[in-house]
Symmetry: C2
Subunit: 763 residues, 2 copies
């Protein structure tokens, strides 16, 4: 890595500010658009109020959890078994992640009536309004993510680790912030492993958003469908259905806020983990005399620079998205692909240019391309398995003729099959990234390459997320048009946009889990660095300066593996693998049951309203939308706590009982099983959904046929799979790793296995 | 381990012969029982003919696969990259496993009409006939399993590794059978790693039995239910249903033959893996001078002795099973529990006696008890999650009121939850067995302890399998009584027996997967021993004598881990983990889809017969049972090939591409994910089944209500989960490990990673 790249560091903060400015620009453009007639404004208002009310209550729960965790982290910091920056890092991560969710939701709820209005003017107009509103979300996520990272880096680099502090050490409120005699290599390792902990704040916030939002949206959806569509026989989004507003709120709460918080976390996690791995490689090379301090700094700044370049190219890609009037589904998809693939191609060209200019190693460029390619392939495989254009989904629709049971069996089998290509893609991607970066001769460098693959996959997040967040906006626009009684051609246009949104949502989910897997891989490697630092610190009896060359030698990866018996035949590690696999399943079970309970309450309420409110079916009585919103809100709020706490407590408990090998097993098991299970649930759900739509378009007897009824059962089963349990697994995987990273000192200090090692190391 | 135990080795062959003699005794007793009236004999004849016809066609497919594998193994042996005994070992394993299936099936099909007749005489009479027929299966499996092991051990010990051969070496047909200057410690390592390969024959046979049988039984069941019960509205086992004979055949084919072959393999695998681990510990101790050759022999013979004692105590337990007339479900369960728990308690007492007598180490006794206890706890947890007596299954029935979708969601969630306790039990069991055996100070000894936990869990297999195989016999007796039009009180009695059979089937499945997990753990450890031997052999340039002390040192577990980077951060290993997780899911998908396709053909055929055969519904036209049997047979035969080949090809391919780390990852990932997934599928299926029965007994409106229809959907979805995909995973896990063991030399010779190590090792 050339040190020229360090001089390009300014690209990252500039890009992040650019992203935020363009977010404001797109937001203003959207807000300036015609909001439609009074009914449309009123309906949009209901949805916005419901969404904001939910968000506020979610934040209340999150704040309580944050306060508790903050007290624990602060106490640990005071007892010197935690880095004093961690509590602040934890808070900022949580704050920015929550802010992204808030802005994304505010934009999305404002955009629905404007998109509906846009569609009444023309298809391209509707697409532009919806897509640019989605772009606000995409840009806010990458903008705040990168800005947060840059501010931390700047503050630590320029204000904390000053030349003076590094020579004399620096204490603040009795806590040691900078050890005396701190070298540049040490500084980088400390800085990056400090910064990484802000990911735990983001992760925690994201988990609540994904789980809570997922429960909310599916409780409302299942409730609205089971009573409204199936029992009362009224169409989707019919204003007579009391749960219809809650259903529209749910789209925003789950798909916009949840997805945004999830990817914010992956985005930051991938950059920070790669920086931490870079710092480890750099420090090692400096100690061995095979690298300079400037090289080490370049290894740390490189991922930020690549992310910055990706952000700028994403913005350029956004301006490529447009379509002609009367465009077909294929044209629409092509319009979006022009944007996303265009950005990807641009970034590859930019990287090749940097390589030719000698700024970045060719191996790293190839690693980034491995990640990008893996993202594209997983997206395409997801589309193949979930779109009604292809055999698998059509096969499910065929089975619907025989009844609901065969529909479910075939959907489950399709979901299981669909894990094949993504797993092979990730495996090939990992090995390529590792090998290209030189991992087969220098393992640490290979892990750095895997980190860069994650950065590569997420480099174009700005625009990928825009195509994702666009989906629920189009969906809500359709709801708005239906409820406001707009003419059928408007609904046709919103349906065209919505249908496209379903495809991008499925590929987006594949992308989200793929990037989560690569990020978690990088975090897993970074976890080892964290453990090494704390061993050094605690072995040096309470001093950061204990990170001597000798101890660093002790902490070299292979020695580390020996010392902790981090090998596959260590039963503690194998037991961790079992526990990790189990965690993925039990976590899914909890979120699924939660949806069931919340949906049950919703069904009761909708039935009650149909029974008790006179004239509701004739359209003369007004349904009580607010009480349905309140039920979903309360259900989500109550049900999200347990699974979230589990994700935080289990890694710490495993560490204390089984030690570092147990934690490594838990994380590896959770990662691999979670990835496969999430892929299965997402794709089965998507395929059932589209099989139903395929039947509704006329196959096997169309709407109202027995095949349709069976397909609706499949769709209902798929709902919690694809929108609650599956996506929540992304965060479970990352959060467990983040928690392990943050609570490393606790495990290192109190785990019996580690104690043994310390006894040896301090002898 | 005291060498006294070696002098007790004769217990093992004696016990195996005892088991076979008692099998003959029970078989004759059963055959002497009254076969019932002419209709009953005729119906039983149809089922027997169908079952035997299926078995013969299955054997034809299996023989082709065996011939191909045999040619490959023989070719490898001739090129000296395979042990020359392996082809013969492979054959005998397959032969005995197939023989067990054949005898079990012959007994079961002969017992159904006799059990029905017994039930018309009294409940106790029926129970005794059914249980003793099941006992034939249990005793045949442990008898042949132990006999096969003993014969191999005797032949190798007394005829191949003679003092003379060990001194001068022994060649036969140009292949080196015994290396010159072979020490006793080397001899034991070679003998046990040779013997272990006969597990691959058993595994391959078992996979075909489980997968083929599973597809057969569920295709027939789903076909019979969907058209007969749901469309035509006729009861279960009604003679007017053309698929009813195929359904009854399926119970035998899937549950008797499949389960028998599966557990035969676990039983042999656990004993052989433990013996191999014992030989490794012994050899190591001899080289270090910390143990004698007599100790080494004792470590190898101990698992055989314990298995022999367990077999004898199982036979005693069988005579404890009896009940009073008019016994309730609880009494019946107690009757069986007296037998199984009685045997377990006896074996614990025997082991404590041996420990007090100084024959066996206390740590090993505790390891065995860990395994036994884990088996009992997993069984109880399975009952809790699948019996309608408890909350989870009742909860599914409650959801049935809201329709099929919520029934499915709740069942999936219940299945996922239910993985929790079994995983924690296995984890605690593994750590206890490892720790008690002294693993925290001597890792190899700890792994030997884990092997003994598996032996402990399977020690009472004779009687556990009897209670398992009894289920389908009682089920078939019910079918026989229904079709022969016996008086209702007979059907009531067979129903009581059948209902008990459902409980034992569920706990039996938990037991099967639990023992498969422990056995696979032991095999995984034994795999490493196999790799070490082949490294030594190939490093010694083609000579077994290359197994020098220096190379043994090289091959010590920690060096081995270093050399192959068998640690969790090696991306090749992590990629293996991903692939292992994926294999479990894709394998399930294949078997599920296979059931779907075969069931579809069956549905068509049954519909055709109802349409085309005049008077079939009035009972005047005779349905064509044989064509339904033929369809299931053909479907199973065609569909079982692909998943089975996958299980054989993937480990070899992974080894050639990713090397030993990739294989270890694949096996560990397949083991952990497979265990969790199998538990989920088995328990979800069992819970759906019993929720349906609970509704049929009158809950939520009883038979014919909407809740019942929803519960039937759940049951149908659960069928392939619990009877095809879930149980097949047991064998997938074990077979992949077995294939890896057998193809070790190919991987060692051709894998690039290994080549590198060889270059280092031979320098």
């Amino acid at each position: 890595m050339s040190s020229v790249i360090t001089s390009l560091w300014w690209i990252a903060p500039i890009a992040s500010i650019f992203a935020l400015l363009f977010a404001v620009f797109f937001y203003k453009k959207m807000m300036a658009a015609n909001e439609g007639n009074e009914t449309m404004i009123e309906i949009a208002g209901h949805v916005r109020d419901g969404a904001m009310a939910y968000l506020m209550r979610q934040y209340k729960v999150v704040i309580i959890v944050f306060v508790v965790l903050l007290v624990i982290l602060q106490a640990l910091a005071l007892f010197e078994i935690q880095n004093p920056f961690v509590p602040i890092a934890f808070l900022t991560g949580g704050f920015f992640s929550g802010l992204c969710g808030y802005i994304g939701m505010k934009t999305a709820t404002a955009a629905s009536s404007r998109t509906a209005q846009g569609c009444s003017e023309g298809l391209n107009r509707g697409l532009i309004v919806a897509f640019r509103s989605g772009a606000v979300m995409g840009l806010v996520v990458v903008g705040f993510g990168l800005l947060d990272i840059c501010i931390w880096y700047f503050v630590l680099d320029k204000l904390v680790y000053t030349t003076e502090h590094m020579a004399d050490g620096w204490h603040f409120l009795g806590m040691e912030l900078v050890p005396a005699d701190c070298s540049v290599a040490e500084k980088l390792v400390h800085m990056t492993t400090t910064m990484i902990t802000f990911g735990m704040g983001a992760s925690t916030q994201a988990l609540f958003a994904r789980v809570g939002g997922g429960i909310y949206t599916k409780a409302a959806d299942v409730g609205a469908d089971l009573v409204g569509k199936v029992e009362a026989g009224i169409p989707e989004d019919d204003p007579r259905n009391p749960a219809t507003i809650a259903d529209n709120v749910g789209d925003n709460v789950g798909d916009v806020a949840g997805m945004g918080a999830d990817l914010y976390e992956s985005y930051c996690g991938s950059i920070l983990a790669t920086a931490a791995l870079g710092a480890a490689v750099g420090a090692h090379n400096v100690m061995n005399g095979t690298g300079t301090e400037a090289d080490a700094i370049a290894l740390v700044t490189a991922p930020m620079v690549v992310a910055g370049i990706g952000t700028i190219l994403s913005i350029i890609g956004m301006f490529l998205v447009k379509c002609k009037e009367g465009a077909s589904q294929k044209n629409l998809l092509k319009a979006l692909l022009t944007g996303t693939l265009g950005s990807s191609i641009l970034i590859v060209l930019a990287l090749i240019g940097m390589w030719l200019g000698g700024m970045i190693a060719g191996g790293i460029v190839l690693a980034v391309i491995s990640g990008l390619a893996a993202g594209v392939i997983i997206g395409q495989a997801t589309e193949y398995y979930t779109s009604a254009e292809y055999k698998p989904t059509k096969g499910i629709a065929d089975q619907a003729v025989m009844g609901p049971a065969t529909t479910i069996i075939d959907g489950l089998a399709t979901g299981m099959y669909s894990a094949g290509i993504p797993v092979i893609t990730i495996v090939v991607g990992i090995i390529c990234a590792f090998g290209f970066a030189g991992g087969f001769s220098d393992m640490s460098m290979g892990l750095y390459g895997i980190g860069f693959a994650a950065v590569g996959m997420l480099a174009t997040l700005g625009i990928t997320l825009a195509t994702d967040a666009y989906g629920p906006i189009a969906d809500n626009a359709g709801g708005n048009a239906e409820m406001a009684g707009l003419p059928p051609e408007v609904r046709e246009r919103t349906d065209a946009l919505d249908s496209l949104g379903n495809t991008t949502a499925a590929t987006g989910k594949g992308f989200a889990i793929g990037s989560a897997a690569l990020t978690a891989m990088a975090l897993l490697a970074a976890y080892i660095e964290e453990v090494k630092i704390w061993i050094a610190k605690l072995a040096g009896e309470g001093s950061f300066a204990g990170f001597t060359a000798e101890q660093a030698e002790h902490a070299g990866i292979m020695d580390f593996v020996d010392a902790f018996e981090l090998h596959i035949m260590n039963p503690l590690l194998l037991c961790g693998l079992f526990l990790g696999g189990m965690m993925a399943f039990v976590f899914c079970a909890m979120t699924m049951k939660a949806v069931g309970r919340a949906a049950g309450a919703m069904v009761e309420e909708v039935r009650r309203q149909f029974r008790e409110i006179p004239g509701i079916m004739e359209g003369t009585g007004k349904p009580d939308y607010a009480s349905c919103v309140a039920i979903s809100t309360k259900g989500a709020q109550r049900e999200m706590l347990m699974p979230s706490l589990l994700a935080i407590i289990v890694p710490v408990a495993t560490g204390l009982i089984l030690g570092v090998p147990g934690v490594m097993g838990l994380l590896a098991g959770g990662l691999t099983t979670g990835f496969v299970l999430a892929t299965m649930l997402n794709n089965a759900g998507g395929a059932w959904d589209n099989a139903k739509k395929y039947v509704e378009k006329g196959a096997h007897g169309g709407k109202g046929s027995d095949a349709h009824k069976a397909a609706v059962v499949g769709d209902t089963v798929g709902d919690p799979c694809k929108d609650t349990s599956g996506p929540s697994l992304n965060i479970l995987i990352k959060l467990m790793t983040m928690v392990s990273v943050v609570f490393t000192p606790v495990v290192v200090k109190f785990s019996p296995v580690i104690q043994d090692f310390l006894n040896i190391a301090t002898k």
